[in-house]
């Protein structure tokens, strides 16, 4: 079975590499120093420790057991520190401070238990060094005159290791924090999208029910009026009333029918969608907002068979959001031009408004979920994000150009269905 490296694995590999490099540098460095300082006991064992570390380093290329290697390396380092302290004066050795290093290294891998084990081990080593030194078991094998240099070197070593690994620890922590923040943000956005989708779905169920119930009484009116009008002559005054009723019924039934398109709860992406029909339905839905404010100019291509394969309900939603945004961008009076052009197997839809436009700075953000310039409570900032998502799901491309105080243009490119070429 192939195991995919996770981010944590990668971090651990990086840490292991750093650990090995510091192990090689310090074992070689200390061995050289002790050789010069006459403590051959230590330098000989230092070389053995170096070789052990080389083996650990090489074996990390062949095994997945990184945890075992971590533990071995730290135990080896611990032993090396013990030998070093033992032969440089025991409790009096400045190298005593090195016992802080093993528990520190154990902070970089799991299980957390290891940190406590190495803390206890280090504490034990410190405690045991006292009687060992008092009763004369330890010895200082350094040549006279090297004490000061040894003290400086050991302290510097501890200082560097603590500094480097503390820095690394902080960095890992910051990275983890960032990841946590990212996933929190993702979660938030997914939740809101889910809520929005749920809202749309329940709205759909409701509007489908309402549409069905309204269509029956509309049928009564239309049927009744149709029968009444049969006996009337065009010149009759009552004929005008009848016409008014008929017009009313037709308009109401158009609204109800376009409502039905939004409530299509199907998940299918295989429906044949008539784009012109969809735009017209959206305009009917927005009629109450557009009526006194916006002049809508339609420039539809005359090519037939403008079918896009996808989900009709979702396409309605996508286009409704775009037109609705165009309407909201127009503060007093203006026009919205909706143009369709067919070329080869593509359909270009442009929706241009003469509204207040979008600043360059905001233009790149309009597809971000929750980005809105509306006062809080008035816009969720999801509308256009949803539109972008739906259009991309349909294999379409959407781009926006805008000039502040002149207007905005949405360009949408759809691939036409092969079935209708």
């Amino acid at each position: 079975m192939e195991v995919k490296p996770t981010r944590r694995d990668k971090d651990q590999q990086r840490f292991y590499l750093l650990l090995m490099i510091s192990a090689y540098a310090s074992t070689l460095g200390f061995s050289c120093f002790y050789y010069i300082a006459g403590a051959t006991h230590i330098s000989e064992k230092g070389i053995i420790v170096f070789l052990l570390f080389v083996i650990y380093g090489v074996s990390s290329f062949f095994t997945q057991q990184l945890l075992l290697l971590f533990r071995l390396s730290i135990v080896t380092a611990f032993t090396a520190f013990f030998i070093q302290v033992f032969y440089t004066g025991g409790g009096l050795s400045p190298a005593m401070a090195e016992f802080v290093i093993p528990p520190l290294l154990a902070f970089f891998y799991r299980p957390i238990r290891d940190r406590y084990i190495f803390m206890v081990l280090s504490a034990l080593a410190l405690v045991i060094m006292w009687p060992l030194t008092s009763y004369g078991f330890t010895e200082n094998t350094l040549l006279p005159g090297f004490e000061v240099a040894h003290g400086l070197l050991a302290t510097l070593f501890v200082f560097i290791i603590v500094a480097v690994f503390t820095f690394l620890f902080r960095e890992t922590l910051a990275k983890k924090n960032k990841m946590l923040n990212e996933s929190m943000r993702d979660l938030k956005s997914t939740t809101k999208k889910l809520i929005q989708a749920e809202k749309m779905a329940s709205l759909g169920v409701m509007s489908a029910g309402v549409a069905h119930e309204i269509n029956n009484p509309l049928n009564f009116i239309k049927g009744g009026v149709g029968m009444l009008s049969k006996d009337l002559k065009k010149s009759d005054e009552n004929a005008q009333f009848i016409m008014a009723i008929e017009e009313g019924v037709n308009r109401a039934s158009e609204i109800v029918s376009s409502l039905g398109h939004f409530s299509r709860n199907s998940e299918s992406m295989e429906e044949e969608c008539d784009l012109h029909q969809i735009i017209d339905n959206c305009l009917v839905m927005l009629q109450h907002k557009l009526k006194y404010k916006v002049e809508v100019i339609k420039k539809y291509t005359s090519s037939k068979h403008l079918r896009v394969i996808g989900n009709e309900g979702k396409l309605h939603q996508a286009i409704l959001n775009i037109i609705s945004n165009a309407e909201q961008a127009i503060t007093t009076k203006g026009t919205i031009t909706i143009e369709t052009k067919a070329k080869l197997s593509f359909l270009r839809l442009t929706i241009t408004d003469t509204g207040e436009g979008i600043s360059e700075e905001n233009l790149s953000k309009i597809s971000d979920p929750f980005f809105t310039t509306k006062p809080s409570g008035e816009g969720t900032g999801l509308g256009l994000a949803i539109s972008f998502g739906i259009i991309q799901d349909h294999g379409g491309k959407i781009s926006v150009t805008s000039k502040p105080s002149e207007g905005t243009r949405f360009n949408v490119l759809f691939k036409l269905s092969d079935r209708f070429k």
Binding site: H212, N216, N219, F220
Partner: protein
């Protein structure tokens, strides 16, 4: 109105007003028999048998919906053409029934008399 008087239509709807209006709208075009439920419709079919050529049914009715009724009718009388006249704007069940040719046509309320007349006359 030309020939096709033999095309008797059975109209099924649970709303009395719809039955009344349908009957009145088409009384000069073709004979209309009405039924206010699926059960009643099946009884009427037994009663009139060969003269009924077209069934137009509402979709949502108590006890037996339009599709269930049409399925029953098709089992006994496969030659009867069946339409649905519904208040639903979009209904996946109806769309697939149309695809599977269980129903021949689908009309929406409020209906256009001309479209229904044309569908009844065409064979």
């Amino acid at each position: 109105m030309n020939g096709n008087k033999r095309n008797t239509v059975l109209f099924v709807d649970d709303e009395e007003i719809n039955l009344f209006l349908f009957e009145k709208t088409f009384e000069k075009d073709f004979p209309v028999i009405t039924a206010s439920s699926g059960i009643e419709a099946l009884e009427k079919i037994e009663e009139y048998k060969s003269s009924i050529k077209v069934v137009i049914s509402d979709m949502r009715m108590p006890l037996m919906n339009g599709l269930e009724l049409i399925q029953k009718i098709k089992n006994g009388f496969p030659e009867i053409r069946s339409f649905i006249l519904t208040g639903y704007g979009y209904n996946p069940e109806l769309e697939s029934a149309l695809d599977e040719k269980l129903i021949d046509r689908l009309f929406h309320k409020p209906f256009e008399p001309e479209k229904i007349k044309e569908a009844v006359y065409s064979n």
